[in-house]
Amino acid sequence: MKSGTLDVRARVDVRDDSDLVVARRLVRQLGAAEKLSTAAIEALATAVTELGRNIVVHAGSGTLLFGTATDGVRRGVSVIARDAGPGIDDVARAMRDGYSSGDGLGLGLPSARRLVDEFEIASTLGAGTTVTVTKWRA
């Protein structure tokens, strides 16, 4: 979000795939409490899964923070994925790269972006990556 507030409600430390299950459950509960549509909750759960996988695969461990968000007009659910991994050299390229490298299927970070309303990424080589996604209540 360019501006707005985020109220963090829950946190999950991510080390392996089993933590993703916990994260998915949390985001569904939060989505339901914030009255997001079923499709929106599903998209958010999918995005969280990909963000979580990204942490497990590239950083080894990290944190997912869950919260409610508002930009003054809309309300929704935000998820912050944070890791202290190797970081991304060229963020713009990494966001395109689902097609030019890797599995070539458009999974991973680029796919997470397509599933949410807001997507922000900040990364520093050697210091880690932080991704913030938000899904608004329609």
Partner: protein, 335 residues
């Protein structure tokens, strides 16, 4: 076990667990199965069939009072499995839009470049005509005022200007075959080849060349542009057999994997196949001008015409043992 059989088995087990427990780990399993199916290259219809099979056992085989609840839960489970497909689908659509935009931009740039090279070539002609005219006057009216070295230099200037004029003509020819509208029709390639060879023979009456043109070879394309192709290929064959005592040139067609392939074959100087990739680029020459004259634009022109006919062009050769140039006229070879 194939990817599909493995999916069948795992999906059924995961769905069964979900229908019993209705919890997040089971739902996560559906997501993972879907993701795996995407990576394994399975399609939506594959997973839909898998889902249908599992339903038959786990829903319709269940006690009547529990079927409705199971059907609703199974739908949620299936939706979860489909999420990764949805995700990649969105990605492909986005990537496709991006590619289309890039293609349009690329075509624009290409058109601009073609127009640019055409006008540059065209504009170079005027100053060149001046150089040609004034050096001619210099040679004719002022030769006596120059010493031998001066006349020698003047001769070189005139030769260079002539060479440049040829380069420009060839470049304009190349630009023209790119810009011309295609008027496709039925073309008698045998007749074209025969008349070109007759003309070449007329230009060099001293040469003894055995030519063989297969009769009745026809192709679908633009008659004027196909004449440019045959002219270039036959003229090349004519040129590169100049040092053969028993020169042979043949034009014909053959079937390769059910595709009609036209060829021009000679027993001339040939070339090293290691350089075959350079053949069709503009200004690329495999021989020095002392050996064989040429601007290096002819084959680039051939390639462009063939490409505009949705065909392919390639060559097979060996040094000292001749060369064969092949081309097709549309991708399916229905010409």
């Amino acid at each position: 076990m194939t990817a599909r059989e493995e999916l069948d088995q795992r999906y059924r087990a995961a769905l069964e667990r979900f229908l019993d427990a209705r919890d997040e780990p089971a739902l996560s399993a559906a997501y993972e199965l879907g993701r795996r199916a995407v990576v394994d290259g399975l399609g939506v219809l594959d997973v839909a069939t898998t889902h249908g099979e599992a339903l038959r056992n786990l829903v319709w085989g269940a006690p009547a009072h529990d079927r409705a609840r199971r059907a609703v839960d199974a739908a949620a489970f299936f939706q979860e499995l489909l999420s990764p497909f949805e995700m990649t689908f969105r990605g492909y659509r986005q990537a496709n839009d991006e590619l289309r935009r890039q293609q349009v931009a690329l075509e624009d740039v290409n058109r601009e470049l073609e127009a640019f090279s055409y006008s540059v070539s065209h504009d170079l002609r005027a100053p060149l005509r001046s150089i040609d005219a004034f050096t001619r006057i210099l040679a004719r009216d002022h030769a006596a005022a120059l010493d031998d070295a001066g006349r020698g230099h003047l001769g070189r200037v005139r030769a260079a200007a002539e060479w440049m004029a040829r380069l420009i003509d060839d470049l304009l020819g190349l630009a023209r075959v790119s810009r011309a509208d295609l008027a496709r029709g039925d073309v008698d390639l045998s007749a074209l080849a025969t008349s070109i060879l007759d003309r070449l023979r007329g230009e060099a009456p001293g040469r003894d060349v055995q030519t063989r043109v297969e009769g009745g070879v026809r192709g679908r394309g633009d008659a004027r542009l196909l004449a440019v192709v045959l002219e270039n290929l036959l003229r090349n064959a004519w040129k590169f057999t100049a040092k053969r005592s028993a020169a042979e040139i043949a034009f014909g067609r053959e079937l390769r994997d059910g595709e009609v392939v036209y060829f021009v074959r000679d027993n001339g100087a040939g070339f090293d196949m290691a350089y075959a990739h350079k053949l069709f680029g503009a200004f690329q020459r495999l021989h020095t001008r002392d050996e064989f004259d040429g601007t290096g634009i002819g084959l680039a022109t051939v390639a462009r015409v063939v490409r505009r006919h949705d065909g392919r062009v390639w060559a097979e050769a060996a040094v000292g043992r001749g060369a064969t140039f092949y081309f097709t006229l549309d991708r399916a070879g229905r010409s």
